[in-house]
């Protein structure tokens, strides 16, 4: 491959291009009109404008992207994450145009794109799944038998339901019949369909995923797990690798299960198998993401492997240069997604112009970003500004580094998730690795967040008072920002 087009924008486009350039390959950027001055466009060797701001007119416009790629003599297309990365039709069209799609086969994308088909496919490989009925049920005695075999607590879900409606948790066997009755009648009145599913209730779920890499010669390895349980709106904000709680034995088991899932769909390239982990460290298959993940840098830190470089080598048809036995975990990495959102206001978007931008730096600090001072955060795309990743010899060191990096990272002009990152790093539940996907609900409700903010403001008030008290008679004015050393 001599020239690769990156069909994406922002930090991920830039991050992918860095690896491409390192390999001595030319880069082509695509962009929408408002992204003309974006850093990925300025970094690339060549760049083409796709059209208007709306994704459908630009970053999702398959035919335009492929047309330009053909004209510019591109021989590989990397889709990044989001946009067209899990679009089987795009992968197919790229291949038909005689260009290598840097990702899995279209058939693997389609198969894993359907949750039901994916579960059906991995069943034969003995992958654990949340125990329960795979068909809707209305027969109460039959349901009672199944519930007893699953073990309590169990969850009753209306098959026509959604968004938490028609869901019921049953703690013990005695309550089952009554709860089932009510669930069925509720489902009937709410959705006109009384059929329900029953499955094991996971009360304290953690989101654990495993990175896999497969080449075109049938070799598949896993690159250990990532813990992604700190979420808001069911979207990840903080990730780490390895998990703070997996035992060596479980790590091996979950890794082997992930490799089996990848084998079940003949997976080629970099992919991620997601699992739900319960309080007994039992894991259940959720789904497979057939692309590079946002949080891939934590895996790169602990394995020393450049995943984008591997993706390109695999696409070129090369064999993996390492085996499972060669892979070892070294140290610990934590990632914070810096979003233009206000954590004190239910993480609502908070957009604007970046009036001040100072990056953290140092050993073990990696910042994947694509913005500079003076830039606007466009509203058309994802509100993620950057990924701040820190690495240390162990978990405590990585957390400490993250705290220092957050304090050194200055973004002004709007609210970001940086203070939330500090809240999590300082929280005992996070430090002891004793948390689940309910972290934000449990510890960071709007009221709790406000109280926490007020505590910090009080410290600021005290500091100002102390200074004022000591200096009020001399009336000294301070302005640190005008001092020469700050201007550097």
């Amino acid at each position: 491959m001599k020239k690769i087009l990156v069909a994406n924008r922002g930090e991920i486009a830039l991050r992918i291009m860095r690896s491409i350039k390192k390999m001595g390959i030319k880069t082509v950027a695509v962009y929408s009109e408002p992204d003309r001055n974006a850093m990925h466009v300025r970094f690339a060797d060549e760049a083409v404008c796709l059209g208007e701001a709306a994704s459908s007119q630009s970053y999702l416009n398959m035919d335009k992207i492929i047309d330009f790629a053909t004209k510019l003599g591109v021989d590989g297309i990397h889709p990044g994450y989001g946009f067209l990365s899990e679009n089987a039709i795009f992968a197919e069209k790229v291949t038909k145009a005689g260009i290598t799609f840097i990702g899995p086969e279209p058939a693997s994308i389609t198969l894993m794109g359907s949750k039901l088909a994916a579960k059906d496919c991995v069943k034969q490989y003995d992958i654990p799944m949340v125990p329960g009925t795979d068909q809707a049920i209305t027969d109460i005695p039959e349901a009672q038998k199944i519930a007893a075999s699953i073990g309590f607590p169990i969850l009753i879900k209306a098959s026509a339901g959604g968004g938490g409606k028609g869901m019921r948790v049953v703690e013990k066997a005695e309550d089952f019949v009554e709860q089932m009755d009510r669930a069925i009648s509720e489902a009937k009145s709410a959705f006109g369909d009384g059929s329900v599913f029953i499955e094991k209730y996971v009360g304290s779920p953690r989101h654990i995923e495993v990175q896999v890499l497969g080449d075109k010669h049938g070799n598949i390895v896993h690159l250990f797990e990532r813990e992604c349980s700190i979420q808001r709106r069911h979207q990840k904000v903080i990730e780490e690798a390895p998990s703070g709680i997996l035992t060596e034995e479980k790590r091996q088991k979950i890794g082997e299960a992930a490799v089996k899932v990848a084998k079940s769909c003949n997976y080629v390239g970099a992919g991620t198998v997601e699992f739900l982990l319960d309080e007994n460290l039992d894991f259940y298959f959720l789904e497979m993401n057939t692309r590079l993940q946002v949080e891939h840098p934590v895996t790169e830190f602990i394995t020393g492997i450049d995943l984008v470089e591997e993706q390109i080598k695999i696409a070129r048809g090369e064999k993996l240069s390492f085996s499972q036995e060669d892979l070892k975990i070294n140290g610990h990495a934590v990632e914070l997604r810096v979003y233009a959102e206000d954590p004190l206001n239910d993480f609502l978007p908070s957009i604007g112009t970046i009036t001040k931008y100072e990056k953290p730096s140092g050993e073990g600090v990696r910042l994947d970003d694509a913005y500079e001072e003076g830039m606007d955060i466009p509203i058309y795309y994802d509100p993620m500004i950057a990924k701040l990743v820190t690495f240390g010899k162990d978990r405590a060191t990585a957390i400490q580094k993250m705290k220092e990096a957050i304090a050194a990272y200055k973004i002004e002009g709007f609210a970001t998730t940086l203070p939330f990152g500090l809240f999590v790093m300082d929280h005992e539940a996070f430090q002891t690795a004793n948390f689940d996907t309910h972290f934000v609900k449990k510890y960071f409700s709007k009221e709790q967040a406000q109280a926490w903010q007020k505590g910090k403001a009080r410290k600021a008030a005290l500091m100002a008072l102390a200074h004022w008290n000591a200096n009020k008679d001399t009336l000294k004015t301070i302005n640190i920002e005008n001092r020469n050393w700050k201007k550097r």
Partner: protein, 159 residues
């Protein structure tokens, strides 16, 4: 005689302190421009970014807080309304960002008060509630549910 209080507004929150307690506060200026201050055995460390009479900008763990200290005189002025910045009343609600109108929560002629929900605007695939900063009457609604709007576009006229 009531105890003398100092009111401090920091980062939007009001705090009250007794004046004679403050008199004992001691602050240490470290060489690296950081300040350190002991309060109930806790070492509060931070940076004073700017100090202008009773107006401060304090930085703690990289986060900046505007701080305003109010002594007795300021408090009296506040009560008399002399220190209050003149609040400008708005006569229209404009779109703070481009987006899609998801819901209009008011009707023409309706009287609304501060912080009432007026409109829900979707941007970045998220819903944003637009509120009114002061009481007003809805004069005219210029947009419809489902309509795409540009930044700065007038959505609702107020009277």
């Amino acid at each position: 005689m009531p105890e003398q209080k100092i009111i401090v507004n920091a980062g939007g929150f009001d705090f009250e302190f007794e004046k004679d307690k403050i008199a004992k506060f001691e602050i240490v200026n470290n060489k690296d421009e950081n300040f350190s201050f002991l309060y109930e055995n806790q070492n509060i460390k931070g940076n004073i970014i700017s100090a202008d009479n009773k107006k401060y900008i304090i930085e703690l763990d990289g986060e900046r807080f505007p701080v305003q200290i109010k002594n007795e005189l300021d408090q009296v002025l506040d009560q008399m309304g002399l220190n209050k910045p003149k609040t400008t009343k708005i006569n229209a609600i404009k779109a703070p960002m481009p987006g899609l109108v998801i819901e209009i929560c008011v009707t023409e002629g309706q009287e609304i008060i501060e912080n009432d929900k007026v409109l829900i605007l979707e941007a970045m695939k998220m819903e944003n509630v637009i509120k009114i900063p002061h009481e007003a009457v809805v004069k005219k609604i210029l947009v419809k549910t489902g309509q795409a709007v540009e930044k700065g576009q007038t959505l609702i006229e107020l009277a």
